[in-house]
């Protein structure tokens, strides 16, 4: 464990030093972060000019939902950005250099290139949401904050596990390079209250493709809608998908045949 922490710290340091080489890019990412949150907030403002609620969610609830969604898909995901290059690693045969290292190959593939610039984008993106949530009246039940934080940690692990499962498919199917874009697009559904969907879709989003757990469950909890079922569900689903990603990865690595021969 200590060894992994040391490696991870070193990878972060490398990423920070690379960041200083691209200062213009850094500024651009911060501006883009602000721009995207502004666009989301304007869209919500416009929609709520014409309705009081969206399937039981008010305006400030929706802001919290968007804030939570980004907390889930942009936080740990940026630190584990390396997994998105797996297709190239397999196609070019450079994955060989990873499996020969004296470290868990899944850990190293996922965390070898932490995207610190992406984290700065994340902070810039979240800031306007935080300001709105502080300045305007919300239905937040602050005593549920510890449970919310626990849910955020779990949903980050869940998201990274889902991403890993999808991208691991590259080991078997060489023509599915951008498979993670499919997951990204579908995950966008997690920005909306699940109650707008028909029951069958809700069932899918809480089981087979559990994107309902990414932001809706944590946000609902902070809004005071807590149940032990959601806590048990959140923990079970996260661990189930995490272990599924481990099993798939280990099977894939066993069956991997280098592209370079």
């Amino acid at each position: 464990m200590k060894q992994y922490l040391r490696v991870f710290t070193q990878l972060i340091k490398n990423s920070i030093s690379m960041l200083t080489a691209y200062r213009a890019d850094l500024l651009m990412r911060v501006l883009i972060g602000f721009g995207w949150s502004a666009a989301s907030i304007i869209t919500i403002e416009i929609i709520f000019l014409h309705t009081q609620e969206l399937s039981g969610w008010g305006k400030s609830d929706m802001i919290l939902l968007l804030f939570t969604f980004a907390l889930t898909v942009d936080l740990l995901s940026n630190l584990g950005k390396g997994i998105e290059d797996l297709e190239d690693l397999i196609r070019l045969g450079t994955f060989d250099t990873i499996i020969t290292k004296p470290i868990d190959s899944q850990f190293y593939t996922v965390f070898r290139q932490p995207n610190i610039a992406g984290l700065l984008y994340f902070v810039a993106h979240q800031l306007p949401f935080v300001i709105i949530l502080i300045l305007y009246p919300t239905n937040i039940s602050w005593h549920f904050l510890p449970v919310y934080i626990l849910f955020i940690i779990l949903s980050n692990i869940l998201w990274l596990s889902l991403k890993t499962i999808f991208i691991t498919m590259n080991f078997w199917w060489q023509n599915v390079g951008n498979i993670h874009f499919l997951l990204f697009s579908i995950a966008e559904i997690g920005k909306y209250p699940m109650t707008i969907f028909p029951y069958l879709m809700q069932f899918v989003f809480y089981t087979i493709l559990p994107i309902g757990f990414l932001a809706v469950v944590p946000s609902s909890t902070l809004l005071g809608i807590f149940s032990w079922t959601s806590l048990v569900g959140m923990i079970s689903i996260t661990f189930l998908f995490f272990f599924l990603s481990r099993i798939l990865w280990q099977k894939a690595v066993r069956e991997y045949s280098s592209a370079s021969g």
Binding site: A24, D25, I47, T51, L54, Y121, V176, S185, T195
Partner: protein, 265 residues
Amino acid sequence: MLNKYTTLINIMWQRGLAYRFTIFAYRIGEIAEMLVLLLMWSAIFTGTSTIQGYTLNEMLTYILFGNLVNTITRNFAAAGIGRDIKDGRLSLFLLKPMKHVRYALASEIGRASLPFVLSLITQLLVVLLFHDKFLYNTDPVTLLVILGMILLAFLLEFELSYLAGLIAFWTDEVDGLYTTMERVKKFFSGGYFPLSLLPATFITVSFALPFAYSFFVPAQLYLKKIDLSMGLKGLGVQLLWIVVLAMIIRVVWKRGIRKYEGVGI
């Protein structure tokens, strides 16, 4: 003369076939996004029959038809051009007996044709799913004007994308910028919601800008929310923008090529 461009289109079509899963994956994602919009607006319409003059069926038709137009007109030339400049591959084109902008246009037509066919099929399937809500407009003149608008919108979108791609002459990190520009374009084209939900001044301005012709205006025309004369005026505005953007591209290309370092040579 035309042969080299048709060859290019053919090559890009073949390349598309090799990456058919990627295209299919994008399509699934787009359908998911569209379904969310349809369901979200259905939820908003619970308890109200009209919003800013739109009935639920009109709103759903707006989303379905607008997205259909958008799948034809949108393009991703910027990223490719940006990569050519960044990686120094542009040097190869400078030696070829064709203008880069024409090469990029032919490539884009070839690249877009397979996703277009797939999009058309899947989009029609979604329309079928909502067939009881979808409003049909069979007026041939209106449909003809819309078709003209779509063709011009394709060219306009290409020019905007090409121009965005040329930014790579001045900066290395452009991917985030392209994605943001895509979002901004979608917002101003009425892709997230009809521009009619915004103040009237905004609509007037958007009619004069090139973005709304890829989604909002054709959908409005289809829904008979604007009359044919407005549609014809729109075609004129589009033509004007095509000329203006072509001139801007010329200037930016000339300045950019002076700055071009040709990495890798």
